[in-house]
């Protein structure tokens, strides 16, 4: 017999479901015309730069098949880089090259691939294999983030990224996704990455969840999640709120990585952020969204909103 949770219990916990997310939040607070800025990563990057939000450096944009041969030659000057589809979704089609070995490229997992395979990946990206709705796409090449060594022990073969959900400029909930061997270096929770809920007030971990079950240590590195404290937490919250102002999207998921040198860097934005963050925090979004609505009604000031959010949503005293 499959175990289910009763709808009443979910209601009590304030869990946000798919239908409510669409009808009440995305449909109401995210105007369609503002989606482009979020779905097109080049536009996101441009807007972020105009708003002084740090983003990974852009090396090249490849728009047509015939540019691929030249592009791979041009990449020779960079030791490490990341290839992404401009309109990719759900982290699909991201190829991370961490270094070279003669003529070959080393992936984040350590495997070596040839230049031919990099070219094929670019070609598939342009054909829209990884993009929203399978449309033709462009590929962008970015600098690889040298992620903060503090977080190294919490991730296996992948960059841990921090997701903040912001509603009307108020940071509501946060988590960090740590790749595992089981998730194949990917930060997707349903593929087995560990989601660690983060306290909005302090940036400390609340609880860590893998496959829907609580864990205390990273299954591969053995690092203890209880001791996790995200550095630069003030700046992360600030960045999250500013993205809401930049995009005009009321309900937004902000993905942030920590660079060794530059601190919090905006990786991408999401106009339809998933609900897994509730699993990582073992808490529902609805009560918090209601409070955030009140906070936003009370004040327009960016810093006040964050201060109030930290006051209301703090878990660790």
């Amino acid at each position: 017999m499959i175990k289910l949770i009763s709808p009443r219990r979910l209601e009590e916990l304030g869990i946000l479901g798919m239908n409510r997310r669409y009808v009440v939040f995305i449909g109401k607070y995210n105007p369609r015309r503002n989606y482009r800025l979020v779905d097109d990563k080049l536009l996101t990057k441009k807007a972020a730069l105009e708003n002084n939000i740090p983003v990974p450096e852009l090396y090249a944009v490849i728009e047509a098949q015939h540019q691929i041969a030249r592009a791979t030659a041009a990449l020779a000057e960079h030791e490490a880089f990341v290839i992404k589809p401009v309109q990719g979704s759900g982290g699909k089609g991201i190829l991370v090259i961490t270094g070279r070995e003669g003529d070959q490229f080393r992936k984040s997992s350590g495997t070596l691939i040839s230049a031919e395979e990099v070219r094929r990946h670019l070609s598939n990206t342009l054909a829209g294999l990884y993009s929203l709705g399978g449309r033709n796409d462009r590929a962008m090449v970015e600098a690889m983030i040298q992620f903060d060594p503090y977080l190294e022990k919490y991730s296996y073969e992948g960059v841990p990224d921090i997701r903040v959900i912001a509603f009307k400029g108020v940071p509501v909930m946060a988590m960090i996704r740590c790749a595992t061997h089981a998730s194949d270096g990917k930060a997707n929770l349903h593929q087995g990455a560990v989601g660690v809920g983060i306290d909005i007030a302090t940036g400390k971990s609340v609880r860590a969840v893998q496959h829907g079950h609580l864990v205390t240590t990273h299954p591969d590195t053995g690092a203890n999640f209880d001791e996790l404290q995200i550095p630069y937490w003030d700046r992360i919250l600030d960045l999250g709120s500013r993205c809401v102002e930049m995009t005009g999207l009321g309900y937004l998921g902000v993905d942030i990585v920590l660079d060794k040198v530059r601190g919090p860097v905006l990786l991408e934005l999401n106009a339809r952020p998933g609900l897994a963050i509730q699993v990582a925090n073992m808490a529902g979004l609805r009560h918090r969204l209601a409070i955030a609505e009140k906070i936003a009604a009370e004040t327009d000031d960016h810093h006040k909103k964050i201060a109030l959010a930290r006051q209301y949503f703090g878990v660790h005293a």
């Binding site: 499959i2 175990k3 289910l4 949770i5 009763s6 709808p7 219990r9 979910l10 916990l13 869990i15 479901g17 798919m18 239908n19 409510r20 009808v23 009440v24 098949q65 699909k92 094929r120 070609s123 598939n124 054909a127 829209g128 294999l129 990884y130 399978g134 033709n136 829907g212 079950h213 509730q278 699993v279 073992m282 808490a283 529902g284």
Partner: protein
């Protein structure tokens, strides 16, 4: 919330309108709410085509059918663009007459009627008609006498005499006299048989009518022979020698004589297109009685030509299937590949039947995925890759059809009803899903799609659903209301009760 109230208002109005109209039709006009007994209603479309002579007035006369042998005529329509048109009574038979001063191109006139047969009695009895001996050449008369003598010798009574006669004329190696008569009359065997019967003093005539076959086009008139055996009239098929009125025979005219007369034209031709439709018995009676009394009935689907009615029969089922998809996705939370792909698959299942459909679908997609994995290595651009998949799918369909035909599995021939483009996209999506998320996700989405397709199929083939959607199309308004309300449903999906099942345990 303003938008919520607005939706509630619109949905409420639509719902009440749909249910209200339905109840009005059910209780005031006597349409049955439940399927009950069905009647087979035939629509017979007669096409008269001819080429007019230059600058000559044209007159086309068509004898109209009489309600005979239990047939009831429901509705008649005449199409007569540019012609003067009257229906005249001539010697107890009705005749449609189209007239026109002149015409310079060949044309087609239409007469359409709907008929059904609530009971199948024999033709009414009537007194035997006087027999007129045909005028014959000497050698013909001699041959006929010899033939009649031979048949008399072999038969016991009039019934067996006629049966033997019919058999004789349909044999491969005929009697010399029968062969001679056929040769000299230069007419169809039927006419010769009638002449023999007349010569033998047996009252007989033709019955003209149409052999009913559903979906048949270009059907021509057929004839039966009716003779009097001294006690009563007997109908016999002049080809098979079977007696009695065939079940699938629509009687147009009892008696010999041409149905169609065209003056001022040549190459005249009379053909029929036939469609049968199962309608609830009570609705048929309602139509019969009140077809012209209520405007509402005039604007129902019944007012359409029957071929279009058939199309709408399926079209009106699609909203119900859409409701199934809405419920399965919004309330249950099933993942499907392509939002409405399951409906298209379910529509194909309607043609193939469920089990055959499932086997064919799984085979096609399975083999398609396998072939698609070769294409994957070729590193093609998206558009040509999908085009290649389309071609592969068409080849697979052809192969399936040919193989199944060779092995005598006629069911599998229905493979052609699967929508090619949709299949190709399904294969493409599944293939990408496999590469990116693994087989598990393919299984989940493919299974979800099939489950929704099967549910849609089961709902669409349900007798009551079929009956309600077709006879009460206004119920679709109520359905629309339900779908609008579901579009505002903000509660949890069933799948979320599973997904978040561990959240309560702290």
């Amino acid at each position: 919330m303003a938008s919520r109230n607005q939706i509630a208002l619109i949905a409420g109005t639509l719902f009440l309108l749909g249910v209200g109209l339905t109840l009005y039709k059910a209780f005031s006009l006597g349409f049955p709410l439940l399927p009950g007994e069905y009647r087979e209603v035939w629509t017979i479309e007669s096409k008269i085509s001819f080429t007019p002579r230059k600058d000559q007035p044209i007159q086309v006369d068509l004898k109209l059918p009489e309600p005979l042998a239990g047939w009831v005529l429901l509705e008649e329509h005449f199409a007569s663009s540019g012609f003067g048109f009257t229906v005249a009574d001539e010697n107890d038979t009705r005749e449609a007459r189209w007239t026109r001063q002149s015409l310079d191109h060949s044309t087609t006139l239409y007469y359409k009627l709907q008929a059904y047969r609530p009971s199948s009695p024999e033709l009414d009895d009537m007194p035997p008609t006087p027999v007129k001996k045909p005028l014959l050449e000497n050698d013909q008369a001699a041959a006929m006498e010899r033939l009649i003598a031979l048949l008399h010798e072999q038969s016991a009574d009039t019934d067996t005499f006629v049966a033997l006669l019919v058999t004789e004329f349909n044999k491969d190696n005929q009697d010399r006299d029968a062969e001679f008569l056929l040769g000299t009359f230069e007419e169809s065997p039927r006419v010769v048989m009638l002449a023999v019967l007349a010569y033998a003093g047996i009252p007989a005539h033709e019955i003209r009518g149409i052999r009913l076959e559903d979906g048949r086009r270009r059907q021509t008139l057929s004839s039966l022979i009716e003779f009097h055996n001294g006690e009563r009239w007997v109908v016999i098929d002049p080809e098979t020698a079977n007696t009695g009125m065939p079940a699938n025979f629509f009687v147009w005219q009892r008696g010999s004589g041409a149905l169609l007369a065209v003056s001022g034209g040549t190459d005249s031709d009379l053909q029929f297109a036939l469609v049968s439709n199962s309608l609830p018995a009570k609705a048929v009676i309602g139509m019969e009685q009140r077809a012209h009394e209520y405007a509402l009935l005039d604007f129902s689907i019944y007012a359409l030509p029957v071929e279009q009615q058939g199309v709408f029969k399926v079209l009106m089922l699609i909203p119900v299937a859409a409701l199934v998809v809405v419920v399965m996705r919004l309330l249950v939370g099933l993942k499907t590949s392509g939002t409405f792909m399951p409906i298209l698959i379910a529509l194909a299942f309607l043609q193939t039947q469920l089990v055959t459909g499932l086997v064919l679908f799984i085979t096609l997609v399975g083999v398609g995925l396998w072939i698609r994995s070769f294409l994957s290595h070729m590193n093609l651009l998206l558009v040509s890759r999908i085009s290649a998949v389309i071609i592969v799918v068409i080849f697979m369909m052809a192969t399936t059809a040919i193989l199944s035909y060779k092995f005598g599995l006629d069911r599998a021939l229905t493979v052609t009803f699967f929508p090619t483009i949709i299949l190709s996209w399904t294969i493409e999506r599944m293939s990408i899903l496999w590469e990116e998320e693994g087989f598990h996700e393919v299984f989940l989405q493919g299974g979800g799609s099939l489950l929704v397709a099967v549910l849609s199929y089961l709902v669409m083939t349900n007798r009551i659903v079929e009956h309600l959607t077709f006879n009460f199309p206004e119920l679709t308004l109520s359905l629309l209301a339900v779908i609008l309300v579901l579009g505002k449903y903000t509660g949890y999906r069933l799948s979320e009760l599973y997904r978040f099942r561990d959240l309560g345990k702290q």
